[in-house]
């Protein structure tokens, strides 16, 4: 086990606790940049999906994992981002403006959705956000003059100034860079007062008010930041698929995003990325295994959705802290090797908290 000697307060807030962590992250980033050189287009395409799902998942993680506000409507923010970007670029507005516009519009709508969240919580909020997603889907279908309805829209590969991102590789780099920026921004928010305030709201709303945190302000803020991330991801999603229609943004997508953060581990940014990797690679794994599992299962439609559902249930029961939590435990086990006990990570149950509503 490592012990850290802190000599000043900055060492408490810096991004990387140990020098070695920093080096590992640098290695990871260099690795992700070098990966396209040795792999085929299909694999790069999957990596691109992982990155953009990660961006959306970070958004949802900030909202659900950190602020404690559940949302089953994130497909709608994804759709708003995708359609904003698609409509703007089709009308000749450059991608460099359409991308932030997608995020900002989604954030604006996020504020509107955040308002009912002030009065709703838990299951009711989930239903309200789900209704919102269905409304957005319906609007996209019906507003034919703007969105071409169920015919869908063709989106061109983006370009920023002289650079065009039409190849798999170049697009992967674009999304990867945005993901890194997104992670850094989220990390920065989380280590400053705003981040602490939203976590405070998750843990105790009463106490949050008592120390001067305005619930309306921070809940809507959290919704809008979350929607901003998801909107950006939506824009990238549209330009990746080069074709979108309302059916790309159904309830299934919202649940996929929820699956990502639950499987990855609620309340950790790592979890958003681990979860995205898991959820993107699961169908691939199924395709690979198709020949080895009975026809009865592999031939079924909706196998993916069923598996996500099963995975969420398994994780909630056996590993509520997700993949990231399990990783921490394994790491801790090795660090403490002969001394590790099963109970080390077990959270004590306390009964003195009064439930009031």
């Amino acid at each position: 086990m490592r012990f850290l000697m802190k000599r000043n307060y900055y060492e408490d807030i810096k991004l990387f606790k140990y020098r070695s962590t920093f080096l590992w992250y640098i290695a990871l980033i260099i690795g992700s940049f070098l990966l396209p050189l040795v792999s085929g287009n299909y694999f790069i395409s999957q990596l691109t999906f992982i990155c953009l799902y990660s961006i959306a998942a970070i958004g949802l993680m900030l909202l659900t994992g950190y602020t404690g506000q559940i949302s089953l409507g994130h497909a709608a923010f994804l759709a708003i981002g995708a359609y904003t970007s698609a409509i703007l670029t089709v009308r000749g507005i450059p991608f460099i403006l359409a991308l932030p516009a997608a995020g900002i519009l989604a954030a604006g709508v996020g504020i509107l959705i955040g308002l009912p969240a002030l009065r709703l919580s838990g299951l009711y909020l989930a239903i309200a956000t789900m209704a919102f997603a269905i409304i957005v889907e319906e609007i996209l279908l019906r507003w034919v003059t703007l969105t071409r309805g169920s015919l869908g829209m063709v989106v061109n590969p983006p370009s920023i100034g002289p650079w065009s991102f039409s190849t798999e590789k170049s697009y992967y780099y674009l999304v990867l860079i945005l993901l890194i920026l997104g992670v850094l921004a989220a990390k920065n928010i989380l280590r400053s007062p705003t981040g602490r305030a939203i976590i405070a709201i998750r843990d105790s709303e009463v106490a949050a008010q008592a120390i001067g945190i305005s619930l309306p302000k921070y809940k809507t803020l959290s919704f809008s930041v979350s929607a901003f991330y998801t909107g950006i991801a939506g824009s990238l999603y549209a330009h990746k698929l080069t074709f979108i229609n309302p059916e790309s943004f159904t309830l299934g997508v919202s649940i996929e995003l929820m699956a990502i953060i639950i499987i990855g581990g609620l309340g950790s940014l790592h979890g958003a990325i681990y979860g995205a990797i898991f959820v993107i690679f699961l169908p691939q794994l199924l395709i690979l295994m198709k020949d080895y599992i009975p026809q009865l299962f592999s031939g079924q439609t909706g196998l993916n959705a069923a598996l996500y559902g099963l995975m969420i249930i398994i994780f909630i029961i056996f590993e509520p802290t997700g993949i990231y939590g399990r990783w921490l435990k394994i790491k801790f086990n090795f660090e403490m090797f002969p001394l590790y006990r099963r109970g080390t990570f077990r959270r004590e149950k306390k009964y003195f908290k009064v439930e009031r509503k």
Binding site: D12, I13, R196, A200, A210, I213, V225, R347, E348
Partner: protein, 260 residues
């Protein structure tokens, strides 16, 4: 005008009259205790001051400002901090994070400067940590600095909550049964801290407490409530010996206790 004033506040929940025209005034630098049997409405008074409840009648004044209808988080911004009877800490955070949260009102950063973590945000964070360290020193929490609050013993959690309230740098501190669940030694510490908070930090304190020894020792004035009705107020000696107060606490004709 007094430092803090409660004018004839009444509140009822359905048919239950929780408070019936309760009034009191507090001078700056005073320790004011509210006592009474269970269900007397002591915590309700604090919740009214904190604006968790809307009073039906009456008004509250803090430094000449009417705070009867302001939003709960504004109460904290004005400089009123509190602790809770059933600890309300942010359990999944460390002690130091809880203390830093107490300084939320004093932040100068906004979302955009925090996103890129500008130099000013960094300086502010370092400054906050410096101040949090002062509170850790004051309350002897060094050993628990980086531990998750949820796993700490009850008494320590209560202390962390007190620390979080102090981090707000309040002018008025509301303590809801700070001594409950503490052992004798921890109670001694508490008396020590409250005296220090009063005398060195110059913070005015309203305290709700059942431990009469503690009330006697620290308070300048005491208010006794029973079923939401104020019985009497005055010096601790006077209130604790008031026949109505004894009756409220012990009941009438309880010969067994009286003979002791």
């Amino acid at each position: 005008m007094p430092f803090f004033e409660v004018q004839e506040i009444s509140i009822s929940f359905g048919g239950l009259k929780a408070l019936v025209s309760v009034s009191f005034e507090i001078k700056r630098g005073e320790v004011f205790s509210i006592i009474g049997p269970n269900g007397a409405g002591k915590t309700t008074v604090l919740n009214c001051i904190n604006r968790y409840y809307d009073v039906d009648e009456g008004s509250l004044f803090f430094k000449d400002k009417n705070i009867t209808r302001i939003r709960p988080h504004v109460v904290a911004e004005l400089g009123i901090a509190r602790t809770f009877q059933n600890i309300e800490l942010f359990k999944n955070m460390t002690v130091i994070d809880n203390l830093l949260l107490g300084m939320h009102c004093h932040r100068k950063s906004n979302l955009f400067t925090e996103c890129i973590f500008t130099n000013s945000v960094r300086k502010q964070e370092i400054k906050s940590r410096n101040r949090a360290e002062g509170i850790i020193d004051f309350l002897d929490l060094q050993a628990f600095r980086d531990q998750l609050v949820g796993s700490l013993p009850y008494g320590v959690q209560k202390t962390v909550e007190l620390g979080r309230a102090l981090a707000l740098e309040p002018e008025l501190l509301l303590l809801d049964e700070p001594a409950s669940g503490r052992n004798m030694e921890e109670k001694e510490d508490l008396i020590f801290w409250i005296t220090d908070i009063k005398e060195e930090l110059g913070i005015t304190i309203i305290i709700v407490e059942h431990d009469m020894r503690l009330v006697k020792e620290i308070s300048d004035r005491v208010l006794a409530l029973n079923y939401g009705v104020p019985i009497t107020q005055g010096t601790p000696q006077m209130v604790l010996e008031h026949p109505e107060v004894i009756k409220a606490y012990l009941g009438e004709g309880n010969g067994f206790i009286k003979s002791k």
